[in-house]
């Protein structure tokens, strides 16, 4: 009887958190289920050399590509996120701007100003410049076979004491 009372109390405390608990369980079930399903369903055969290559199709590369090349996509994605976040704040502001009054307008102007500054900065560092890159990182030494050998041996030497 007493035990039941304790259990009932516990249950009422937990009650509000049942959805959270459910989500947690669902997450565990989904994660474990995906792993088990892929173990069961995946073809069990040894991967060939072509299979584990970065790209299965195309010409087999014979030498390493140049060390640095611009990856524009990530930059564009990050610029997009900045302005996406601006919209996230602007939209609710637009819904209630009458209630917020002058303070809200000033705040949103300051906020937009800060976001606009980031656009100005991106432009100045060439984040919006498309086409072939005219200036690479300054101070990069010319690549020769000797520099590559030096670099590889420097990379593989133990640099850190344990």
């Amino acid at each position: 009887m007493c035990l039941w009372g304790v259990v009932r109390d516990r249950v009422t405390v937990v009650d509000q958190y049942l959805p959270v608990l459910g989500l947690l369980l669902l997450g565990i079930v989904f994660g474990a289920g995906s792993l088990i399903a892929s173990k069961l369903l995946a073809p069990h055969q040894q991967a060939t050399a072509a299979k584990v290559a970065p790209y299965e199709c195309g010409i087999v590369p014979e030498n390493d590509p140049p060390a640095r090349f611009p990856v524009r996509f990530y930059l564009v994605a990050m610029i997009f996120i900045i302005f996406d976040i601006e919209i996230v704040f602007l939209f609710p502001f637009a819904v209630v701007f009458r209630q917020l009054g002058n303070f809200g307008i000033v705040e949103i102007l300051v906020f937009s100003g800060v976001v606009f500054l980031s656009l100005a900065y991106l432009r100045s560092v060439g984040g919006l410049t498309w086409g072939p890159i005219k200036q690479l990182v300054k101070g990069m030494p010319a690549r020769t076979s000797e520099s590559t050998i030096a670099r590889i041996s420097a990379d593989s030497s133990p640099e850190r004491a344990a």
Partner: protein, 526 residues
């Protein structure tokens, strides 16, 4: 329902003086950003540093103005009780801003040496500092989280801001992933604490506990534990310290000094406010956790530092050990404990930035030469630099006539008076071990010779480069002359002199700082 709620919107009153240091820092960062974007070919480094110094100094002045106001009118909360302006927040602000000013001085010379003509360092340092200042003022768990993220995200980028430094990228990624993880744990803890107490506001949480008794404290304890994990990561307390040595080693040295001081000050500020201000009545829940963290942090930091060959890794473990001492002050939870922790934070951040300034200067081009061997005979080649290094390291060891002595004395005596004498005992043991590894560097700098190195270094730990260097030294038969003397740039020199002077001044005349820390803790607890 949303519309119904917003029709009765009333603006919370804002006391702009309370948030003025943050506003000044952010304004400075935005002005440097604007100038960098508008000036063709980028802003000159000297101008960026000048603007940054101007705004940091202005923020420091506003913090002191705040202090005057608080002394006259007492503490207050503003912006719907989310921000608090009291002596504690002002002390944290002054500490962070001092560390910022010193770090900008050191960073300027670093940028010059490495040939980096960009203002990211200045902008991000100011933003990170504004986050740290805000952590001292936050009176709401959500605001603490916000400030923590402002601080952390700026630091993640700062660690990697030098694109030509390979190991920086690795350590920044490590810091970013682990830091993001700890932030997530922290937020989850906030959610559980909110569930248990019904509020994220620290004042309301304290009220809740004064009026209610938790029958089932499990939810609250779980939330508190997760929040403490988040803090323990930021202050690098064992066992959440694993990132520290790698990140401190990989980051550019001036950034390491900045990170070691500002991130730790911010983390401890929020930790002290959450535990002692909001959850003082629940000390039975958090004291044992901090007790265990303090012991583990003290001992592991001191013992592992003993075997480090890399000076930056050694200082990283020493900073872990320092976190243990400050944790003692927090664990005790009394007025004396809090003011001792505050004193420790100030003394620690000044000497840490100073130490890393010397490491930066000695690191040479590329900031890569941080082996202990580099410090052999330093005092003979460069008596002033060697002397400054000796003072700062001995201060970290807690030798009398330095501020480090009073810092350690403060937390240990607070622990004894507060009844935590086992903690005081562990602290003394850790201090004794600490003296060994600090003295090792000092002795090397003053008496370094080939014989000293032979006994000093187990051969298994010497990496090939060092062994090569040693054999050439032996062949040439002149141990000291082959390590070139470095010239100390002007601004770095000023930063080193300032931190040494501060360390010695508050070691001889600790009264003003002790009073400041004491009244800061007093106003905060009242």
């Amino acid at each position: 329902m949303l519309l119904a709620a917003t029709t009765s919107f009333s603006l919370p009153s804002i006391d702009y003086l309370a948030i003025l240091p943050e506003l000044v820092l952010l304004g400075g960062a935005l002005i440097v950003l604007l100038a960098t974007s508008m000036v063709r070919g980028g802003l000159k480094r000297n101008i960026a540093t000048a603007i940054t110094m101007l705004f940091s100094a202005a923020a420091l002045v506003t913090a002191l103005v705040q202090w005057g106001r608080i002394s006259a009118q007492g503490a207050e909360t503003t912006i719907a009780h989310a921000i608090v302006l009291d002596g504690f927040s002002t002390f944290i602000g002054v500490t962070v801003l001092c560390a910022l000013i010193l770090s900008v001085l050191v960073g300027h010379d670093y940028l010059k040496r490495e040939g980096i003509e960009s203002s990211e360092y200045h902008i991000l340092a100011m933003i990170a500092a504004s986050g740290a200042v805000m952590m001292g003022q936050a009176n709401d768990l959500i605001v603490i989280f916000l400030a923590l993220e402002i601080l952390s995200i700026a630091l993640y980028v700062l660690v990697a801001f030098n694109p030509l430094r390979g190991e920086s990228g690795e350590s920044a990624l490590k810091y970013y992933i682990l830091g993001g993880f700890s932030s997530a744990i922290f937020v989850y803890g906030i959610a559980l604490v909110y569930g248990a107490t019904g509020s994220t506001n620290l004042g309301q949480i304290a009220n809740f506990f004064s009026e209610n008794q938790l029958i089932h404290p499990g939810l609250f304890d779980a939330g508190l534990a997760l929040v403490l994990v988040g803090f323990a990561f930021k202050i690098a307390a064992v066992p959440f310290h694993v990132w520290t040595p790698d990140v401190y080693q990989g980051a550019p040295s001036p950034i390491t000094g900045f990170m070691a001081s500002v991130a730790k000050v911010g983390g401890f500020a929020a930790l002290i406010r959450v535990t002692i201000a909001a959850m003082n009545s629940q000390s039975a829940s958090w004291k044992p956790i901090l007790y265990a963290l303090a012991i583990a942090t003290l001992l592991l930091g001191a013992i592992v530092a003993l075997v480090q060959r890399d000076v930056k890794r050694m200082l990283a473990y020493s900073s872990i050990s320092h976190a243990g001492y400050i944790l003692i002050g927090v664990e005790v939870g009394t007025l004396a404990g809090t003011s001792a922790a505050l004193f420790y934070l100030f003394a620690y951040s000044v000497m840490t930035v100073g130490s890393f300034a010397i490491v930066t200067v000695l690191g040479g081009d590329g900031d890569s030469d941080h082996d202990l061997g580099r410090y052999r005979g330093l005092a003979r080649r460069q008596p002033w630099l060697g002397g400054a290094l000796a003072v700062l390291l001995l201060a970290q060891a807690g030798i009398p006539f330095t501020s480090g002595f009073f810092a350690k004395l403060g937390v240990v005596s607070a622990a004894i008076n507060g009844g935590s004498w086992p903690l005081a005992l562990v602290a003394m043991i850790a201090a004794a071990i600490g003296v060994a590894f600090y003295l090792r560097v000092v002795v090397l700098a003053y008496m370094g010779s080939d014989e000293a190195d032979a006994t000093d270094t187990p051969s298994s730990q010497v990496n090939p480069q060092t062994r090569h260097a040693q054999s050439t030294l032996l062949l040439e038969g002149q141990s000291v002359a082959t390590i070139p003397a470095v010239s100390v740039p002007l601004l770095s020199g000023i930063a080193i002199v300032l931190s040494v002077a501060t360390t010695i001044f508050f070691g001889v005349i600790p009264g003003p700082l002790l009073d400041f820390a004491h009244s800061a803790a007093q106003l905060f607890l009242a």
